[in-house]
């Protein structure tokens, strides 16, 4: 392991025993002129060091808004956080001072966005932008910062880093730009990385490279990783545990293998079933009927009930909490939960 990056930085803090990040009962709303859109309605999740949590959901599920709330980059107004806690190493970031919070952001928690081109400043060279991280946070000299930038670029395997350090973002391909974003996120060796659809804009063959790199670096630095995505394939490849979101709530949590083998929520089941399978060639695909809900008018009861093949009267009245999922004999399944009144039946469905 190359440790040269560490030289200007105090030694890494001892690994934190509890969850690095603990989101509790988070609510986020947006005030629009058509009413209040409730984007996040009581989300709970936590990530430990070295762990990869995948947050899976469609557009409007609140997966990205949750991440933005964690990073503190929501525009308030129109957004507001009426309730909830975001604990980083035990401290609630929502009740911190502005300065204190700013120090965590970027240094302890870094974020990687989907669109690398618009996240990089087009008029500054990538070397300068990478070096700036060191200059701003550690007061490193210009010359030294450039060396570090080259080193980072080599870390994320950008070929001919030395020659390309003075190139501008548009001179790199999509995959290379996303590597630069990863390099930037890594620059200060954060404890936690939030990656919001990091490979969605990339081609399949490049996707694989970038995901591999991210997973490798995560293991090397023993970071926590929150991977926000809608892609069931990407999740299956890298996640340890999964939180499935729908209409601003977590509807199912499970370790990755269990989720794919035995989903306990009809929405998760529907998503898995609608993936085209070989033996279905020439047949109609399973499709979840209906449309994702409008956040201004989330259906009463379980938000999924108008689309759910299992919905009963109770689903239209009561909001299901995240029930712990157990085996038939009552043995608890670690880390599993389902916000469905009929999780037991769903679990046995196949």
């Amino acid at each position: 392991m190359t440790t040269a990056v560490d030289t200007t930085k105090p030694a890494r803090e001892a690994p934190y025993e509890g969850p690095l990040l603990d989101v509790r009962d988070l609510h986020v709303e947006f005030v629009t002129r058509d009413g209040v859109a409730r984007a996040v309605n009581g989300v709970n999740y936590s990530v430990r060091a070295g762990e990869t949590l995948a947050v899976l959901g469609e557009s409007g599920s609140g997966k990205s808004v949750t991440a933005q709330a964690i990073m503190g980059i929501l525009d308030m107004p129109p957004a507001r956080i009426p309730r909830g806690e975001i604990r980083f190493r035990g401290q609630d970031m929502l009740r911190m001072g502005r300065e204190e919070r700013r120090r965590i952001r970027g240094r302890k928690i870094a974020m990687i966005f989907q669109d690398a081109l618009s996240s990089l400043n087009p008029v500054l060279s990538v070397g300068f932008q990478l070096g700036e991280m060191f200059r701003a946070h550690h007061g490193t000299s210009r010359k030294e910062a450039k060396d570090k930038a080259i080193e980072l670029m080599e870390r994320v395997r950008i070929p001919a880093a030395k020659q390309r350090v003075n190139d501008y973002p548009h001179q790199f391909s999509g995959g290379m730009r996303q590597r630069i974003m990863i390099a930037m996120a890594l620059a200060l060796e954060p404890d936690l990385i939030i990656a919001d659809e990091p490979t969605t804009a990339l081609d399949v063959t490049v996707q694989a490279q970038v995901m591999d790199l991210l997973a490798e670096l995560q293991a090397e630095y023993h970071m926590g990783l929150i991977l926000i995505t809608h892609d069931l394939g990407v999740v299956a490849d890298v996640a340890d545990k999964i939180a499935v979101m729908y209409a601003g709530r977590i509807v199912e949590t499970a370790p990755v293998y269990e989720l794919y083998a035995r989903p306990a929520h009809p929405y998760t089941r529907g998503l898995l079933d609608s993936i085209p399978r070989l033996d279905q060639k020439g047949q109609e695909l399973y499709a979840i009927k209906g449309l994702p809900p409008n956040l201004l008018r989330i259906p009463k009861g379980c938000a999924f009930n108008p689309r759910c093949p299992r919905a009963q009267d109770v689903c239209r009245v009561e909001v299901p909490e995240l029930f712990p999922v157990t085996e038939d004999d009552g043995t608890a399944l670690a880390g599993r939960g389902s916000a469905c009144f009929f999780w037991k039946e769903t679990l046995h469905d196949r």
């Binding site: 391909s173 081609d203 993936i275 085209p276 979840i288």
Partner: protein, 387 residues
């Protein structure tokens, strides 16, 4: 809803009608050596051509009546440009496109208008492909205004409502604006517009990639159902390989402006012989965590070279682990390799076409990769990657 396209065709003047029926399984669209170059020029008043982006560079294939031909490839491979040229939205630089045996790539005026009736398109982004200032009725009814012979004036409202019904939308929504619909519903509106003229060929350019996962399956089902109902031929351009496999009868793989492999879905997915196809297939994330360990993924190094300056010989050679000197000199032809048998013997543009034995070539690839890496490093110094 009348499904019979032939009856309406009777109203068209003889000389521009493509009236003869093509039997199922016969080619309806024949593309031969199609070329589309975008010139790169310098200067404003006195333009000087300094090069060309070779977006499509000699592509040949047939689209059969009633079939779905999937076209896959990564961004910059030319698949969207191919669609635009087939739609006559961009003039072809060279080669020929025949629709029912007639050359259409150099048509204009009435002839072009007649072709447009028969070849329609469904766009990728349902948010930008519908005019926000027009109602749904105006959008779906516009084809009738442009081609008044298809539907007499008095029947148009009814025709539009029928189309809405066919794509699974409430006919009462006729006076609404596009922004009042969700992405999936908008894509249905786009499909209804494409169907209005009762075309025989529909080119779908990434029709579901902008949609939510739970809605994609609905739209795919709709497309399949319409194909059966109206006897349509689809050219289905997408980057999602599992969806392409599901919907396609045949699949063509493109790389850097060329078709590198084409065959039936089983031939491509289970017996791929071109290294690029193999890499592409192996890179697709499989929604099954248990496959994590057992996968043998070919991770390609480097980026797709710029289409303005493609490599000599085989265009994939800079990233290929099988590349030899011959690949830099000799352009491989898209043909069934004589040395292969069975399903592996389908059109593949590789000098060393062979099925991949999983796990076989790890060491071999290692060697090839480092060679490719060296090459790529040199490319990298050249400066700009593809935009």
């Amino acid at each position: 809803m009348t499904a019979n396209g032939a009856s309406a065709l009777g109203a068209v003047p003889e000389e521009v009608a493509f009236a003869q029926e093509v039997p199922r399984g016969e080619p309806i669209l024949e593309v031969l050596d199609l070329v589309k170059h975008f010139p790169l020029t310098q200067g404003i008043v006195f333009k000087k051509q300094v090069g060309a982006v070779k977006a499509v560079d000699g592509v040949s294939f047939d689209l059969m009546k009633g079939e779905t031909l999937g076209i896959v490839g990564e961004s910059g491979c030319g698949k969207s440009t191919l669609a635009k040229v087939l739609m006559n939205l961009e003039p072809a630089t060279g080669g020929s496109v025949r629709y029912k045996g007639e050359e259409i790539s150099r048509l204009s005026g009435a002839g072009l208008k007649a072709v447009r009736r028969n070849i329609q398109m469904v766009f990728q982004d349902p948010y930008t492909s519908l005019n926000p200032r027009m109602t749904v009725g105006d959008i779906i009814g516009e084809p009738f205004e442009i081609h008044p012979e298809v539907s007499p004036k008095g029947d148009r409202r009814k025709a539009v409502q029928d189309l809405l019904d066919v794509v699974g939308l409430n006919p009462e929504y006729i006076n609404r604006y596009p922004h009042q619909f969700s992405g999936g519903q908008r894509q249905r509106i786009g499909i209804a517009r494409g169907l209005a003229l009762k075309p025989e060929v529909i080119i779908c350019d990434e029709p579901v990639s902008a949609l939510d996962v739970s809605v994609q399956a609905q739209v795919i089902n709709l497309l399949e159902q319409l194909q059966g109902e109206f006897n349509l031929s689809y050219m289905f351009i997408a980057h999602d390989l599992s969806i392409v496999r599901h919907i396609s009868d045949r699949v063509g793989v493109m790389y850097l402006g060329r078709m590198v492999e084409i065959g039936s879905d089983a031939e491509i997915y289970d017996h791929a012989t071109h290294p690029y196809t193999q890499a592409l297939l192996s890179a697709v994330p499989v929604p099954d965590p248990t496959a994590r360990e057992s996968r043998d993924r070919i991770v390609l190094t480097g980026d797709v070279p710029s289409p303005a300056n493609p490599p000599s010989g085989c265009r994939f050679r800079t990233r290929c682990w099988k590349a030899q000197e011959r690949c830099a000199v000799e352009v491989p032809l898209l043909a069934a390799p004589s040395w292969l048998d069975g399903p592996a013997r389908h059109e593949s543009a590789c000098h060393f076409a062979a099925e991949r034995e999983v796990g076989q070539s790890a060491a071999e690839r290692e060697v090839g990769q480092s060679a490719a890496e060296r090459e790529n490093g040199q490319n990298g110094q050249g400066g700009t990657g593809p935009g």
